[in-house]
Amino acid sequence: DQQVKQNSPSLSVQEGRISILNCDYTNSMFDYFLWYKKYPAEGPTFLISISSIKDKNEDGRFTVFLNKSAKHLSLHIVPSQPGDSAVYFCAASPEHGSGNTGKLIFGQGTTLQVKP
């Protein structure tokens, strides 16, 4: 049972436009969410995160939105650049206070292609 789902395996956008990557989760105990970016033959690298007490977190061109009632989060990249082409993983974790061990549950990834 996949608790974190990224239903779009791939996305293609034009350079300069907005990229929107989506992620849905089923476990209401999740309250910390992260996005990782992965290039071929490399490990995932942290991009941005959001706690459930917020509905938006912004870092430069990257913004993550969280809709807790819908159990949905999205990553917006604007403007998109060719160097953003990679696989993007959404991940979720329960908070430390509930005995969390640092375990992350990952989605299956979305491959973003930004065309020049």
Binding site: Q2, Y32, L34, Y36, A41, E42, G43, P44, T45, F46, S49, S51, V87, F89, S93, E95, H96, G97, N100, T101, G102, K103, L104, I105, F106, Q108, G109
Partner: protein, 116 residues
Amino acid sequence: DTAVSQTPKYLVTQMGNDKSIKCEQNLGHDTMYWYKQDSKKFLKIMFSYNNKELIINETVPNRFSPKSPDKAHLNLHINSLELGDSAVYFCASSQRTSGSSTDTQYFGPGTRLTVL
């Protein structure tokens, strides 16, 4: 000055063999993890060690045995390799602080294991 390193990067071996993958982090983190990325690209946690103590042990066959000689190293030993063990294995580390939100996990470049 690689933060999380894994060796080897590629490992091709016959069914039934025993092999080890090594992981080292120079970030001073106290928690290390092993993840498996299967053919469907899902990243799933296998083990986690905090200060050399096992804190996460997912439903992984006991042919897989992690070993942490010190908090900077977490090695993965696999006995009696099977075809289904073929995957990319990622090591990660984080600095977890009690009472805070989940800390960012930093990943190694991965080890692609192919069992023939």
